[in-house]
């Protein structure tokens, strides 16, 4: 905490006096949320951290207009979401799915069972990638429980009812596909 306060003082000397937003407080408050948003899209910790850093660089660039931002939380999530989607075009998130799925398996299980579970997690991630884009986006954002339906609707630019419908369809479609392909 003391470290954050020191950085806050240093940054305040760098920033212009007109900027009334404390950037260090923003980093402390929202960095973990933004990391999860980016990680849900990219499934890579390093890439997600880069996205979070880019988000705060954008904040620094727009520091003079930060006072006009009504909901800082939604605004930051939206920036992180769009930057993650941009970065996703340049990397292949499938290459990180295997490592992420292995990380989801409990450590104290036998090897063969852990292997089966990791394969099952991998199939779920693959089927999620095959979902329609809108449904996939809603499903990924819903995984972050900190975001409500209204905030998800604002980030995605859709209505709340549409978000709810998309979420229901995404879950249903994903379940059906997983049951249909359970023999694989």
């Amino acid at each position: 905490m003391a470290l954050v306060e020191g950085c806050s003082l240093a940054l305040s000397s760098i920033e212009s006096e007109r900027s009334e937003i404390d950037l260090a407080a923003l980093v402390e408050t929202y960095s973990s949320l933004l990391f999860r948003v980016a990680h849900s899209v990219l499934r890579s910790r390093a890439e997600a951290e880069d996205v979070v850093q880019d988000v705060f660089v954008r904040v620094l660039e727009h520091r003079r207009t930060l006072t006009e931002v009504r909901e800082m939380r939604v605004w930051l999530v939206r920036i992180a979401w769009n930057l993650s989607l941009d970065r996703r075009r340049r990397i292949r998130p499938e290459q990180f799915d295997e490592g992420f799925a292995e990380g989801l398996v409990a450590i104290n299980q036998p090897t063969d069972e852990a292997l089966n579970q990791a394969r099952e997690m991998g199939s779920v991630l693959r089927e999620m990638e095959r979902l329609p884009k809108a449904e996939r986006h809603v499903l990924l954002l819903s995984a972050i429980e900190e975001l409500g339906t209204a905030e998800m609707a604002e980030v995605l630019g859709r209505s709340e009812s549409a978000v709810r419908a998309l979420l229901f369809r995404a879950r249903t479609r994903l379940r059906e596909r997983l049951e249909r392909g359970g023999g694989r």
Binding site: R36, H39, S40, D86, L104, E120, V124, M128, S142, A143
Partner: protein, 265 residues
């Protein structure tokens, strides 16, 4: 059914529970403190995939050079096109002005060289290209009119005369024979003098005695042979002067005078 739901929930829980790496906040704040973000990416870096970025840097200079060259070529072509368009505009302006001057020429020069046709049909028939009335009235500026007038009044350069044909040369030779003599004969005084001279020559040639006369009569005959009236008068006056010594001569002279009269008669 149950297994799939469990799998979905475990994946979503894994995404939800993803923890940020240790020291992420500190690294981000350090990067922001130094002012320059560690991974500031240009628009190209954001838009292009990674495998396209490496050769792009090498090709950027080539592309920029090509673009600069293309720009120079475009500028050169545009300049030439603008210059050509300006020449065409000046030429068309001159045409319009000269067409306008057609109506001015009769009053300024004197003799009407060309009269502009009154109707458009006549213009079309004669092939004269004249601007519409509105434009003509607009373009009758003093400077333009003076330029057009100067062009009209400029000295013309006719074609050199063709050489004469043989028939024309023959006609000229016949018509202009002895020109100086004929012109001189038009003057009456000159003509009288010339006639008198010819007559005197004729008289002097045909009045000479062909047969030789005696020596005593030669003087009188020579004196009489000259038809000069002034000399004759002098001779008569000498004969009329009385002198005692010359009575004989006077008689002789009277005789000779009588002979002369007879000869002249």
């Amino acid at each position: 059914m149950k297994s799939s739901d469990e799998a979905i929930e475990r994946v979503l829980a894994g995404l939800r529970d993803a923890e940020s790496p240790e020291g992420m906040e500190r690294r981000i704040l350090d990067a922001l403190e130094h002012g320059a973000p560690m991974r500031t990416e240009s628009v190209w870096h954001r838009l292009l995939p990674l495998w396209l970025l490496a050769p792009t840097r090498a090709m950027t200079r080539v592309l920029v050079g090509g673009a600069a060259l293309a720009g120079v070529i475009v500028i050169v072509f545009a300049a030439s096109a603008i210059r050509h368009a300006g020449d065409v505009a000046v030429r068309s302006k001159k045409e319009v002005v000269s067409a306008k001057v057609l109506q001015v020429v009769p009053s300024t020069v004197g003799a009407p060289l060309i009269t502009a046709p009154s109707s458009d049909i006549e213009r079309a028939r004669l092939g004269v290209r004249i601007a519409p009335a509105e434009t003509r009235t607009v373009r009758t500026v003093d400077s333009v009119g003076s330029v057009a007038l100067s062009e009209v009044r400029a000295a013309s350069f006719p074609a050199p005369p063709m050489p004469l044909t043989d028939q024309e040369k023959l006609l000229l030779r016949i018509a202009h024979r002895g020109d100086p003599v004929e012109v001189a004969m038009l003057d009456s005084n000159q003509r009288n003098l010339e006639e008198m001279k010819e007559k005197a020559e004729y008289q002097s040639f045909f009045a000479r005695p062909v047969i030789e006369q005696p020596a005593t009569e030669q003087a009188t005959s020579t004196a009489d042979s000259t038809n000069d009236p002034a000399e004759g008068k002098q001779v008569e006056e000498q004969q009329q002067i009385p002198s005692g010594d010359d009575n004989k001569n006077g008689n002789d002279n009277s005789k000779s005078n009588g002979k002369n009269k007879g000869e002249t008669e």
